[in-house]
């Protein structure tokens, strides 16, 4: 499992706060986008997969997302959190692509989890496998909106940023996450 320190840092928003307004930064927009592209392209790609896109489509849209970020910064726009910005644009691009292809059903990412824990301790490995199975079951009971909110929260976005990405209010995001975590807690700790 991921260490708590790293998780706390992500949830406390330290990572996202490092992305100050790009227009105020000393480096050029190209260098900023290059850095963010290397750091977050797999995260955006994974999120696009959760929207039900094929891997090739998800990869193309991920690159398109960062290209749009660069064009936006070239116009002098001030983007407070570029990481949240790319998730929002990727979300919109993904939904647009899905609607264009008429695919309404997202890919069930919960069924893609077949990874085997490689921990050394067989007992811990068995416990982790059992916990992962419980979470997977809990995720199957969540709505698509709740899963997206949970996914984005785990990616470090804050409530208002998740609200921007998904297109709902901040309070709705809070309610989605509260219900999703309640189900997860119930499954994991039962």
């Amino acid at each position: 499992m991921l260490g708590r320190t790293a998780l706390e840092r992500r949830f406390d928003g330290e990572e996202e706060r490092s992305g100050l307004t790009l227009a105020e930064a000393a480096v050029s927009p190209g260098e900023q986008v290059d850095q963010l592209y290397r750091d977050a392209r797999n995260d955006v790609y994974g999120y696009l997969l959760t929207l039900g896109l094929a891997p090739a489509q998800a990869q193309d849209l991920a690159q398109e997302t960062f290209f749009r970020l660069y064009k936006e910064l070239r116009t002098g726009a001030a983007i407070r959190n570029p990481r949240a910005w790319v998730f929002r644009v990727a979300h919109n691009l993904g939904l647009t692509e899905r609607e264009r292809e008429g695919r309404l059903e997202p890919v069930d990412t919960t069924r893609l989890m077949a990874r085997t824990d490689t921990g050394a301790d067989p007992e811990l490995r068995a416990m982790a496998r059992e916990q992962a199975a419980g979470i997977r079951q809990a995720l199957e009971r969540l709505s698509a909106q709740q899963r997206r909110c949970l996914y984005l929260r785990a990616e470090g976005l804050r409530y208002h940023e998740i609200a921007d990405v998904v297109g709902v209010s901040v309070s709705t995001v809070g309610e989605f996450l509260r219900r999703a975590l309640a189900k997860l807690k119930k499954v994991v700790h039962e």
């Binding site: 499992m1 991921l2 708590r4 998780l7 992500r10 949830f11 050029s28 927009p29 190209g30 260098e31 986008v33 290059d34 592209y37 392209r41 797999n42 995260d43 790609y45 994974g46 997969l49 891997p55 090739a56 998800a58 990869q59 690159q63 960062f66 290209f67 660069y70 070239r74 990412t109 893609l112 989890m113 077949a114 990874r115 824990d117 916990q131 992962a132 979470i135 949970l150 996914y151 929260r153 785990a154 990616e155 996450l177 509260r178 975590l181 309640a182 997860l184 807690k185 994991v188 700790h189």
Partner: protein, 351 residues
């Protein structure tokens, strides 16, 4: 919310449970969910210069100014850079060109020395008795007399120099010899008098800048070109050297230095008025001054100091300072030579 959670144990416990659930999901998210996602089908393309074609944006105007200054400096250095060519290389090229070129028609050159000017063939094919003295100068300098303007002659002369400076203007005896190519064929060849050059050869009828420069150079050697009232100007016929108020010895020096140069006319003037000249003449007649007269003057005026003061006042009242001895002489009294005061050096006597 944090305050409420701190005060409410039930809410605090619930919050901790949610946070624990979120951490559990986050661990699942990063260690199970994301690694299980299918990898990108293609390698990620470089987003920067490959697709976007952007250039690093330089925002500091000082960097742009430095770049612009560097470009301008480079252009300036490129345009002003002089290609270094050795004299030997130039001579080699000149000789090769001379060899490759067809033989020129009969050329003539003008040779001008400090006291003569004449025209001769560029390449001498026969001996000339009247030019023997000048020929000897060339031979002493190890320079070709027969073909002085050819690159081969110059290269041969240059090769025997211990230190090559590539600048030769005069011979060792300071005889200035100027050689130019005679462009007109209607000049008599040679226009040399049969006798020795110094005796006969007429210089050109009108003085040129070279004549004026010779005069200036001679004055410079004397130190007479700065701080002394000597002027040089050239008209259509002469180079006039005029001096104002110079003493006789200085006039003689200038006369010796420039008097032999061609087209030079000397004019020395004395600015003193005729009355002063007359007084000086009278002074010359009044010499020597009797001692008795000077003593009488001292007695009348109250001593030597009073005499000095009287003379000084007399000199100060005149715009042009006269010779005090002449003043005394003009007033019927003279000073002894041993007590002459106030006279300017070199102006006491007039020839």
């Amino acid at each position: 919310m944090q305050k409420h959670a701190a005060a409410c144990s039930e809410c605090r416990v619930q919050l901790e449970e949610w946070r624990a659930a979120l951490w559990d999901y986050a661990a699942f998210h990063h260690q199970e969910l994301k690694p299980s996602l299918p990898p990108p089908p293609r390698p990620w393309k470089p987003l920067g210069r490959g697709r976007l074609g952007w250039m690093p944006r330089i925002r500091d105007p000082r960097i742009w100014a430095a770049l612009a200054a560097g470009v301008l400096l480079g252009v300036f250095l490129y345009q002003t850079a002089e290609e270094t060519v050795s004299a030997a290389e130039i001579l080699d090229k000149a000789q090769a060109r001379k060899t490759a070129a067809s033989a020129p028609a009969e050329r003539r050159i003008r040779i001008r020395t400090g006291s003569a000017s004449f025209v001769r063939p560029a390449v001498m094919t026969s001996e000339r008795e009247d030019l023997s003295s000048l020929r000897s100068l060339f031979e002493q300098a190890n320079y070709s007399w027969d073909d002085p303007l050819s690159a081969r002659s110059f290269a041969r002369w240059r090769s025997q120099l211990p230190s090559k400076e590539d600048e030769v203007r005069v011979f060792r005896n300071n005889e200035l010899v100027e050689i130019t190519e005679a462009l007109t064929d209607d000049e008599p060849a040679p226009a040399i008098p049969p006798a020795h050059m110094a005796a006969a050869p007429p210089s050109p009828a009108t003085p040129g800048p070279a004549d004026e420069l010779r005069v200036l150079a001679a004055l410079n050697r004397l130190g007479a070109d700065l701080g002394e009232p000597v002027e040089v100007h050239r008209d259509a016929r002469r180079v006039i050297v005029s001096g104002l108020g110079l003493d006789l010895s200085r006039q003689d020096q200038i006369r010796d230095a420039v008097g032999r140069l061609p087209h030079v006319a000397l004019r020395f003037e004395d600015p003193r008025p005729a009355a002063e000249t007359a007084m000086i003449a009278a002074d010359s007649l009044a010499m020597p001054v009797p001692e008795a007269v000077h003593e009488e003057l001292e007695q009348q005026l109250g001593g030597p100091a009073a005499v000095e003061e009287y003379i000084n006042r007399l000199l100060g009242s005149s715009r042009i300072r006269p010779d005090p001895r002449a003043c005394v002489a003009a007033s019927g009294r003279t000073l002894p030579a041993a007590r002459r005061t106030g006279s300017r050096p070199g102006r006491s006597r007039r020839a």
